[in-house]
Symmetry: C2
Subunit: 213 residues, 2 copies
């Protein structure tokens, strides 16, 4: 399988984690997002939505991290929830994450770190960080007496919700503020094969001398 991705993408990281934890054979295909590659006609032909991740699984081309995670859980027979009830719950957290957690974390992190300082829209960053805190509060409370987001073991709901939470750039999240989340991230990074996003996928801020303009 080929995963079109770049190290800075938390949405791609969700899928990369699932590929690793499931022992799938895969290779990353680096997408030069910061030079506009996702806006190119070649990339749009692969994914009209103009986003990573894109997974090529044989002739199948899959997009949207939530869809890819469900596909891989079915294919692996793992990490999708142990019964119909858990499967429904996993999907519920995938949708919540897409709307409330990763959407705000991803955008706040991009605006606050990957734009040149004079182009950073501070009121927008503050707004997204406040929405992010609401989401983190909910997740932290949920994890207060649980080890995993759904059921008794890791699922794709965990891999989705943690997508942006291992990154070092400041964007309004610090593990020390959220003890339930902190403990849960330790569980995830203790899973066999876990790697930091910048070690699992090609591309990182260290490769770029200048912030994009």
């Amino acid at each position: 399988m080929r995963l079109h991705c770049f190290g800075e993408s938390g949405n791609a990281y969700k899928v990369a984690l699932m590929l690793v934890f499931s022992d799938f054979e895969w290779e990353p295909v680096w997408v030069d997002f910061f030079s506009g590659a996702t806006r190119s006609s070649e990339f749009r032909a692969l994914n009209a939505m103009g986003e990573v991740p894109v997974l090529e699984d044989g002739a199948q081309v899959l997009t949207q991290s939530g869809v890819i995670l469900c596909h891989l859980a079915r294919k692996a027979g793992r990490f999708g929830g142990k019964d119909l009830q858990e499967e429904g719950d996993v999907l519920r957290w995938l949708f919540w994450d897409a709307h409330k957690l990763s959407a705000n974390a991803g955008s706040a992190r991009f605006l606050a770190n990957f734009l040149p300082p004079e182009k950073r829209p501070e009121p927008v960053i503050a707004f997204q960080q406040a929405r992010l805190r609401d989401a983190l509060k909910l997740l932290d409370a949920h994890l207060h007496e649980r080890d995993w987001v759904v059921g008794a073991g890791p699922t794709i709901a965990d891999f989705a919700c943690c997508g942006y939470l291992f990154y070092p750039e400041p964007f309004g999240f610090q593990r020390v503020d959220w003890p339930g989340i902190d403990r849960w991230l330790d569980h995830i990074s203790a899973l066999p094969g876990w790697k930091h996003p910048y070690d699992l996928m090609p591309g990182s801020p260290a490769d770029r001398a200048q912030p994009i303009s």
Copy 2:
């Protein structure tokens, strides 16, 4: 079935449309969102995520509009896509909508219409409207030579993507600017049983004398 909802919620409207188009027996349960009902302990006991829609289907309590739509499509045997390929495509558009379309439309509409003028964060509204235009552009192009979002007939992907697009309040969307979307909305509102959100669910701005403070 009982749908916890209020007229102003586009996410609840998606589910209400599916209930109507599938001829399910259902009743709305009005949630007094604008007085803080979704933050109450009673409501949090029903849905810890503190959001509408919530669907009670017998003993099952379902939340997240995307999950509820998938549940109802399975139950109805309709509107879920005609084969595995279409089912995957439907899920792809549900995730895209949650992240890119309804998230921006819903938030921009709330901030620009349901907050008192002095509390409206104009830079945030402008940012969300720009992201919304990106999403509308993509959807309009997709609908340029298609009648429906996925396949040859209506699916829950259509009911999700149209969730906020029938509302009259100004939030950065006008049908006249998007001919593909305009034509598609006509297809949806021509389906038997279609109603405007304020006619399908209890509660509308007309019920409130003052904007919330």
